[in-house]
Amino acid sequence: MSPTTATLDTAAQASLGTPVPRLEARDKVTGTARYAAEQNPPRRAYGWPVPATIAHGRVTAVDTTAALALPGVLAVLTPYDAPRLGPSDDPTLQLLQDTRVPHRGWYVALAVADTLEGARAAAEAVRVGYEAEPHDVTLREGHPGLYTPEEVNGGYPAHREHGDPDAAFAAAPVRVDVRYSVPPLHNHAMEPHAATADWDAGRGHLTVYDSCQGTTVVRTVLAGLFRLPEDRVTVLAEHVGGGFGSKSTPRPHVVLAVMATRRCGRPVTVALPRQHLAACVGHRAPTLHRVRLGARPDGTLTSLTHEVLTHTSRVREFVEQAAVPGRVMYAVRDSRTTHRVAALDVPTPSWMRAPGETPGMYALESAMDELADALGMDPVELRVRNDPATEPDSGRPFSSRHLVECLREGATRFGWTGHRPPLREGPLLIGSGVAAATYPVYIAPAGARAHARPDGSYLVEVNATDIGTGARTVLSQIAADALGVPLDAVTLSLGNSALPPTPVAGGSAGTASWGWAVHDACTALTDRLARHHGPLPDAGLSASADTTQSAKQKPPYARHAFGAHFAEVQADTVTGEVRVRRLLGVFAAGRILNPRTARSQFIGGMVMGLGMALTEHSGLDPAFGDFAERDLAAYHVPVNADVPAVEAHWIDEHDKHLNPMGGKGIGEIGIVGAAAAIGNAVSRATGRRLRELPLTPDRVLAALSVPDTGPV
């Protein structure tokens, strides 16, 4: 282990570990924090995209006559005349380059006008002719298009097998063989995707304010698409209204905004209408799961098989890695974890908070609960019984693993009493459930700079993006501690692609990746200052860091965060409505660097998991080929009244094999397992096992109409 991976000494200044309020809090509560569409350069125009209204086929004509005749319309870009783009790795960004329509909602034109209302009217006035071909948007078992990909999201092998899981399953005295279904889900960050692009032809410079999770990658992609040197492109993202994975890489809005500013010679804002998002910014792909668990009567697992079917688009392969958690969670010698995918005429799926783990752990942790039922065993004890000494798939030791401690602590705090019978209060059936959580530790190289000014203040520059995580705050804390100065001596500059390259806010890796660079730059500056004698020069002193070497080192450890969720629910036998009464999570995620913002992250993930369990559903209409639930009236994210007492706790975890700060990343683990805990509680309450999310009243009522046939 290199010296830089030693955990920071907490004794000195100790800003880390304290609940510092978000540094931008005042800007956010006074409305002065500006987001991408709120930049207002002179002569700004507005773009409004036109989505395809067929699910498969091609555009045969675009009639712009009526649109161009409207007052204030500057241009209508079509596949026939839009700027030709350079190459990109992501084919979803090759917009208006040809006439094919790979899915409904694919953009086929962009109207630009000098007002928002004019752009919208112009988009509606564009007449598009199509030649439609038959489409197929329905994922199902036995679909002839299913294939095993080479790898799944995250770079994992699609298929892993150890021993002989089929024989071990057949020989197991206690068996569970169950299927679960998770529908497509949508990120729906509160700020719709938006960009304000400004091409300065005189300077030959492109400036873009983008609602994104990282400006470095947006700059690189735009430079490639528009054939500009990277130093002629600046991408800014000071404030971003959430992303949850849907803004991790550039999405169509920013490409269209740049096309429009280049065409019109004016700054152009493209702010996507909420109804467009489902089809063009990525979604969590639906997953169909079959889980087979075999166990001895004492609960020892002898066989685990998790098979996942999912869809991708015909534009780009993205495979939700939902079987991967089975390679991490439980000690079992004979196992198979495998994925198959079908390319359909659907929008391209992408990352949504904890891709893979979220649907995968719903299925695996529901199946574990069913196994506990079959064994007549406390589901907490079943998980404890099968806690592995090393990572099952790789055999590597864990850098730290405190799942058992999370389960024990959660059980105590929640008042878990094991296999207790359901309660009844009038028409309400009440029960509790438990599920585990896991999320891997990722890290990527980053750069940062630190400057000491003669007046005793410090400027730290790192191209982090604070999408609401609290990154600005915790990175400032890291800097202050590494410099050995009070927090208010540090100013942090972020959200600017002109700063050294960094990875995106994703994979729960932001704080680790950016923070390591900040730590190293500030440590180097501290060393420089220690060697400096006399007053600082007027320009101050600077130091920079690049963690390419250190962050890419592959440690000989399996590194994951773990957690446990406990839920108490009530199911109404009259209406079928399920409501969560209590939700409690305990997490082991390394060192918690800011308890205030960390708690909000954990709870936020748990609330999104509650939505996944009870309300969030999207479906592809077989006849028209589009998502039926495209807005916030149809796609039900949890509202305040849906969310009861939610508690998040954590246990102290000292892991020296992570990064200088000692944190594992906390942005995603809160959602993982939450839906399983709620589903398991519903099963306990009702005596019926529902295996298709979300647990809406229609499904619950239908289940309750079937007589209870014994223990669940």
């Binding site: 978000r22 006074t30 959430g242 909000s600 709870i603 807005d631 509202v639």
Partner: protein, 207 residues
């Protein structure tokens, strides 16, 4: 909602596009925004939200859905909360509008709800926050005025509603927060709700 009957006052047109010409469907509108009179010449299609954001550069009010489904655009119209994306600005001539920019005092002192939101970390990305705050001001006023909600046990009972956590959740369910800050929002509103000043706003106090 009260509408002034005074004729529109003359004033400089704001945000008039290049093509403004006879035959367009436009009107002059006078709003009192955060205590200041603002005279606008607006396309009839302009919503109050877009008038604020695009014509007055008051971008604190957010566009989350533009269809009255998320509450991010919530402002106070003549003292009552409303989704500004569902109101055409041309219909509001003479109305008083309070946005998030009008909650704090002119000296910068935060409104009790703003303070509580900071203290309780009642937001993450901040995009729903202006709407949550304006909605909370309206909700506190409604409760003080004795308006019952869906969860009020005795809707016939006179007098101010007691703002339990359940009441706050219900009354703020028109404001979505995808970051899931609801538990902190409830604590913040409960905390600020004990301050009599929380039902007021600085700009309304000044006029």
């Amino acid at each position: 909602m009260a509408h002034a009957t005074d004729p529109p006052a003359p004033g400089p047109a704001h945000g008039t596009p290049d093509h403004a010409a006879a035959g367009d469907h436009r009107s002059r509108v006078s709003l009192r925004v955060n205590g200041a009179r603002r005279d606008l010449d607006l396309d009839h299609r302009v919503t109050l939200l877009d008038a604020l954001r695009e014509h007055l550069d008051l971008t604190g009010s957010k566009k989350g859905c533009d269809h009255g489904q998320c509450g991010a655009c919530t402002v106070l119209v003549d003292g009552r909360r409303a989704n500004s994306c569902l109101l055409l600005a041309v219909t509001l001539d003479g109305c008083g509008i309070t946005t998030v920019e009008g909650l704090a005092a002119p000296d910068g002192a935060l409104h009790p709800l703003q303070r509580a939101f900071v203290e309780h970390d009642a937001f993450q990305c901040g995009y729903c926050t202006p709407g949550q705050l304006c909605s909370a001001v309206g909700a506190l006023r409604e409760a003080a005025a004795g308006h019952p909600s869906h969860v009020t046990a005795d809707a016939a009972q006179a007098g101010p509603a007691v703002l339990t956590a359940e009441e706050i959740r219900e009354r703020l369910s028109g404001n979505l927060c995808r970051c899931g800050a609801y538990p902190a929002i409830v604590r913040a509103v409960a905390d600020a709700g004990t301050d009599p000043a929380a039902t007021g706003t600085a700009v309304e106090a000044a006029v």
